[in-house]
Amino acid sequence: MATDRLMFPRPQTARVSVERTPVESQCPSCGSRDVARYPVSNHLGPRMVVKCQTCFTRLSVTRAEPEDMWPAWRSPTRDWPASRVG
């Protein structure tokens, strides 16, 4: 639904954290198996990275999938055709 990601409740916990999801993979640079996928902000904006946690080699940098909720909010009209004025 277009308007499903405009308003959010305040988190229940007093502090909040970014979750790093372990990924079955091996770092091509250092061989470490400590690889994780998580949301970051890079020089362009919000992205999902799969990254070696030992040496920070980025195995992949992609746009978030809808279920990643990254960022949580999004434009309600993002996939509508654009008029001359937007």
Binding site: L6, M7, F8, R10, P11, T13, A14, R15, V16, S17, V18, Y38, P39, V40, S41, N42, H43, L44, G45, V49, K51, T54, C55, F56, M69, W70, P71, A72, W73, S75, R78, P81, A82, S83, R84, V85, G86
Partner: protein, 642 residues
Amino acid sequence: MTTTTPATDTSATGPDVELDILRYGLIEVAREMLDSLMRSAFSPICRDILDCTVVIHMRTDEGWEVAALWEGCMQHAFVAPHIANFLMDDWDIDTMQPGDVVFTNDPWRGSLHQADVNLFRPVFVNGRVEFLLQSTSHLVDLGGPIPGGFSNGAQSHFEEQLKLPPTLLYANDVAVRPTFNFLLENNRVPHLVLGDLRALHGCLVVGERQLQDLIARGGLDDVRAAGRYAIDATEASMRRGIASIPDGDYSAEDFLDEDGVTDEPIPVAVTVKVRGDSMEIDFSGSARQPLGNSSTAWCEAGRCIEAVKLMVDPSTPVNSGTLKPIDVLLPAGSVVQTLPPSSASSHADIGPRVINVVTQALGQATEESFACDTGTAVYIGFSGIDTRTGHKGTPWGAYGLAGGGWGGTWKEDGVSFCVTPIGNCRTSVQEHVEIESPLVVAQHEMLIDTAGAGRFRGGLGSVYTIMAESDTLVTVVADRLRRGAAGANGGGPGAPAVGWYIAGFDLAEHGDPMNLRGAEPLFGVFDEQGRPDPVHGEFGRGARYTTGKFSNLVIKAGDAIRLIIGGGGGWGDPLAREPERVRQDVRNRLVSVEGARLSYGVVLANGEIDTAATGARRAELTAARDAGTWEVPIAAPLEWTL
């Protein structure tokens, strides 16, 4: 599109002169844009305070990258890259035409807060958008319940200023009337905002003309290659700086006093992870978004990198290369990434706090560290309807930035009387304020004993006293009320912020800021007699507010507000500061004789160092510190008159 990337290590081959000339050509286009903007803006916030910046974004395969910019104010430089990409994710580039200008001020699309507006103009070459020019400035007003943009007390963005997603402001250089009507009809100072919007548009026209001229001379391919060269060179320099930090995870925690709604401190936690020439700045463990307006929606993703830039690569031009080695992790729903419909208008304390905490974390990794800056701008917004002869009935708005101190560093004292590093804005030009607004700036000067003590002390804070000639509505945004900026490596904290209301202000009677007669406490830590005393006093004692974040205070005509902003934290043991430097500070009225004895263990008699007494005093304080009965005191002016 493919652009060749020249080698960025120029030591062996020498710089590519052509590309270097074009790289500086891009920076020169930006410089002319900013000159045009500040010369033609109507409001003091843009024209005098320089809370504005201009940017040249370059189209790349991945998105939009900043090739060059010119600052009025540093924070805009660090958040601009994301705003451009959010905007272009939203806007169909195929509908763009030459002379279009798209406007947004949405915090969830990267804007610092609603008051900071961003205009974007596509630059076409051979029918294709190749560059995007951006002008950005704080506007004096954008409607909402509270003038000026810091909506203290608001708990949702519905109660704040107008918030526009990307919206067409000019079509083919013709003003889009509905957009202008919307902005101007919902505004307290439409004449100022119209002037500023036209200036923001005009500087884009200037920028496009200059950029097209550069492209005509250099060729598109070479200008793009020069943009890439600029980004790569900055990235390489930033990476060299990061690589000089030992690999490791460095954690620190600081806090905001509260959010102006509840009285709970708001922790800001960070872990800075360094791996080779890459870095992560992870704000996991920070507080959830507060109820009040003290959190930001996205901008800390870029702004926190200012701390790294200042520490490891202070001299290269800022562009997207500055951001490239770093991933930032912002927990959703936290104080650094609040979720709608939260309020998000008060960015001026969380911004410095984020930089402070990254500085503190990196300070563990390097000897070449520095202590925290004041950590709050002590922003004051003034507005009202003028009642002066010749100005009667004119709506007006003005700003004051008290200016604090930067922290002491590993090699020198901090910079005094200077706005926090988030912005490096100037304060208002006092003469302009007094002509354009019914205000008299009675004093704005450095204040003794406000700098954190250290081997290298912090920069000094200041006192700012403004009298109203017409009834004036005031918003204040101040933090670090209980304890000032943290010191580093054994240095002491700077002085906390304090505010008073002075009824019937008379310069002859109230001109001495150390004289408390007739001064009603607004906020701060006070002793039983009403002296500010962060060491022994009680927070909020006898004061009108128990927060430094309030709006709708009315200064009646003839009355005044006085604010103290503390200085930066000290770096290193103040008992190891050269006594001669302490003597010079006392001679220059930056430190009192008593302050020298209490914080530095330096005993002065008739302006000269008593060497024996100093040695004894320092030995006594060192022993007390070892025994856990003494710590470097929080800086505080001492010589009050009741």
